[in-house]
């Protein structure tokens, strides 16, 4: 089994899911430079994108990476609210994060 990658965008307070690559077609590209992570998402339904913009100050953005024969590594990104923008002409959602935390759930109690 090759490495798997999952993307999730959720509301940080209620846990409501806005985007989940396990459940929908989601094209997500990430670039990082100078400590800033820049995300571009395509194929996201307009309603979901507008919800993400609406709740730009309360987002949990995750990238879960499961290596071949390995345990999942979770990456959580601290999103800059002002960076969250949706272009309804191109259907692209863009956002930036100023930092991330990488964590290994099995290192904690009972994930």
């Amino acid at each position: 089994m090759a490495q798997q990658e999952t993307w999730l965008i959720k509301h940080a307070v209620t846990g409501r899911s806005f985007a989940d690559s396990r459940k929908q077609i989601l094209v997500c590209r990430m670039e990082s430079a100078d400590g800033v992570f820049r995300f571009t998402l395509q194929e996201l339904p307009r309603e979901a994108a507008e919800e993400i913009v609406r709740y730009s100050g309360e987002l949990n953005v995750f990238r879960f990476v499961t290596p071949e024969n390995g345990a999942v590594v979770k990456h959580w990104y601290y999103v800059a609210p002002e960076s969250v923008q949706y272009d309804d002409q191109t259907g692209e959602l863009r956002l930036e994060a100023g930092s991330k935390i990488e964590y290994h759930p099995e290192e904690y109690w009972g994930d």
Binding site: V13, N60, I101, P105, W109, G110
Partner: protein, 237 residues
């Protein structure tokens, strides 16, 4: 303005390992008209089965207070904090620019019951922090005892948790007929939650176990026990 939320009006659930009730939109309960009361965002009344709990998950820009009612709650986070709290203990976590934590029932035999409260902080991007404090349960009787406050009161270190928001959380126990007064400053809010027993407020509003009230523009509150009562009052901006 005095709005009562009876216990039965909350969203309640039972997942086996976790049962509880949400006072505000949370998880499966989504109500656009019930997402906040001032900076208050969450009031979850949870019971976690022995040895079970919430695995590693993140928070940001939220002040999270856990009040243990009975049993043992264990917290662990990615910044090295580990604590086990029981009745008389408070956990305060400031998520700031990001923290990963777990919380679970430290006992293999007994449930743990807790109130978990979330508040928006006064400032985004704070340095994450955590503290566990302990108050003397004997001091709950006959008064409003501050257990969390936005300003550190000298001499209360270790007893009153310091939160990054202009609010105070009080706990109190009263005997039948016993009464305390609370003066609500203009423009402030009060969230009142009865944990056990019954409370009459301003001589007319009755709150029973797990009922709550959201109160605005009431300059004075008179809180009188109808039977032995244990309750929480939060003074909010």
């Amino acid at each position: 303005m005095f709005t009562i939320y009876p216990a039965a009006s909350r969203f309640s659930f039972d997942k086996g390992w976790l049962r509880g009730s949400h006072s505000f939109s949370f998880a499966e309960y989504q109500d656009e008209n019930n997402t906040e009361f001032g900076p208050m965002r969450v009031c979850n009344d949870d019971v976690i089965a022995p040895g079970r709990g919430f695995g590693a998950h993140p928070h940001s820009d939220m002040e999270i207070v856990s009040i243990v009612l009975y049993g043992e709650l264990r917290h662990e986070d990615n910044r090295g904090h580990v604590a086990v709290t029981n009745f008389g203990g408070i956990q305060r976590m400031s998520a700031g620019h990001g923290i990963i934590h777990t919380e679970h029932n430290a006992s293999q035999t007994e449930d743990v019951s807790l109130l978990q409260l979330w508040f928006s902080p006064h400032t985004r991007g704070l340095e994450p922090s955590y503290e566990a404090t302990a108050f003397n349960p004997e001091r709950l009787h006959g008064q409003l005892l501050p257990v969390v406050a936005g300003e550190r009161v000298p001499g209360t270190e270790g007893e009153v948790a310091a939160i990054h928001q202009d609010l105070t959380i009080y706990l109190s126990k009263l005997q039948p007929g016993e009464r305390v007064e609370f003066a609500q400053s203009e423009g402030r809010r009060v969230f009142l939650f009865v944990i056990e027993g019954s409370l009459r407020v301003n001589g007319e509003y009755m709150l029973n176990g797990r009922d709550s009230a959201r109160i605005e523009q009431e300059p004075k509150l008179s809180l009188e026990a109808q039977e032995p009562v244990f309750y929480m009052l939060i003074d909010l901006p």
